[in-house]
Amino acid sequence: MSVATRTSLDVENIRKQFPVLHQKVNGRDLVYFDNAATNQKPDAVINSLVDYYSNYNANIHRGIHTLAEKATKAYEQTRALAKEFINAASEQEIIFVRGVTEAINLVAASYGKAFIREGDEIIISGLEHHSNIVPWQFVCQDRKAVLKVINVKDNGELDLEQFKTLISSKTKLVAVNHASNSLGTINPIKQIIDLAHANHAVVLIDGAQAGAHLPIDVQALNCDFYCLSSHKMFGPTGTGILYGKKNLMELMPPYQGGGEMIKSVSFEKTTYNDLPYKFEAGTPNIADVIAFGKAIEFINSIGKEAIAAHEHELLVYATERIKTLPHVRVIGEAKEKVGVLSFSIDGIHPFDIGQMLDARGIAVRTGHHCTEPLMERLGVEGTVRASFSVYNTKQEVDQFIEGLDRIIKFLK
């Protein structure tokens, strides 16, 4: 790893870089614990957007003028950073997309069209976000393929033994998340990838919840596709990455047609551009991609290990403290978790908890977290989810616990 490992963070200094954190909500200091939905943006990212539009806004790749050149360089710089960030073999393997949702839809549509046949099987897991369920349902409907699901155990871990019984020569593709947005479970993706490859199936990893938290090395993992959303990695909304192995993506048909993705166009025959441009039709989201590069640099400047260690400390502390409260049930107690704490309080609806916490300036998520099948499996309508980031503190956890304590005392 090129990034220096540090054991403790200067959280105060980090917080200073996030303007949004310094405000009152409903009369109290904002406590932002909805990081799994989207995390906040540091000055470097915000300033980069302003800088782009103020100083070198231009369409990229085609222009020969100075601004176009500058914008193209900055845009491609993010691709270089992204390649390093996930240790891809080549920049040609980095496709800019709108986010994880579009990345998965791209693979489902393009790979599905080229390689999925009637009777083939696609395996997903019971922990998946709707984004990693619905596109595969489209493919299965379209190709008359069959969708199979890896079971979730009571503690929120995947049942690998059952996975071994699902996978067979019929399996063409396995799509699972690196970490669960609802429960925080970190999945044994290396094992899943190896098992799938032993059966000649390709593997897509939904890395939405890993991007800002876990080390990612796509070559070591040997995954075929890996998806990231910028907005969950301190970057802007509206951009993200699809990583795909070059030899695979060369065999896949384009997803959308338009400018940028072509070599030459005539009414008789159009030839497509090389990777990565083949999959980047139209004027891309230039400003946000450039700012996404600043977000990657921000993560690198702190180091993933240091971030993960800090968030883990908050998770352990919050979990210990919440368990001292009466009527609270922690939902999802996998051995390996990212900083996501899902819970319910007996007899109190998650909406009420969310709204009462908001009244004290504490932002959490309530509901099914776009994982309805998982909620059904766990027998809950929804949960309250607190999710931590590098700028959160133990003191904020204390405020959160105090808020919950008041709610329980009031309603019980």
Partner: protein, 146 residues
């Protein structure tokens, strides 16, 4: 003669003004009001009586007694129940006509939108609409009789 819809709204505005705009106190107060809402007859908590369009589950039933409308309601979330209790308090014992013509200005005066949010406000609108629909149905019945 019971209090008019306008009088009750005035009372509510008065009560909420005592909370001084403090969000937490307001939310607790709303939940307290919900806790005081008379229990709904379990038999009336049918699928038919679920108000469509609410994020949380809300049941609403109505009956006409001595030419006045009486509502029964419940919700699976405490805050919604409190909000619903305000409507029940305003409309209970009123004539169908008065309910149909009611202008619920209290909502804006107590800054309702601050604590119902965009998700809940749709549900709240659905709730009011449903109450007015009941009133309309009762009024139509009355008109037919007379």
């Amino acid at each position: 003669m019971s209090k008019s819809i306008t009088d009750i709204q005035q009372e509510i505005i008065q009560e909420f003004s005592l909370l001084d705009g403090d969000m937490e106190m307001t939310v607790f107060y709303i939940m307290e009001l919900g806790q005081k809402l008379p229990a709904m007859n379990e038999a009336n908590k049918t699928e038919d009586n679920v108000v469509k369009g609410c994020q949380s589950k809300v049941w609403l039933a109505a009956k006409l007694e001595n030419d006045n409308v009486y509502f029964e309601a419940d919700s699976n979330t405490a805050i919604t129940k409190g909000l619903v209790s305000l409507l029940v308090r305003i409309f209970n014992g009123q004539s169908p006509e008065a309910i149909l013509n009611a202008d619920l200005s209290f909502m804006q005066k107590i800054g309702m939108e601050r604590f119902i949010g965009t998700q809940r406000s749709n549900g709240f609108a659905a709730m009011i609409k449903q109450m007015k629909l009941y009133a309309l149905a009762f009024k139509t019945k009355q008109d037919v009789k007379s």
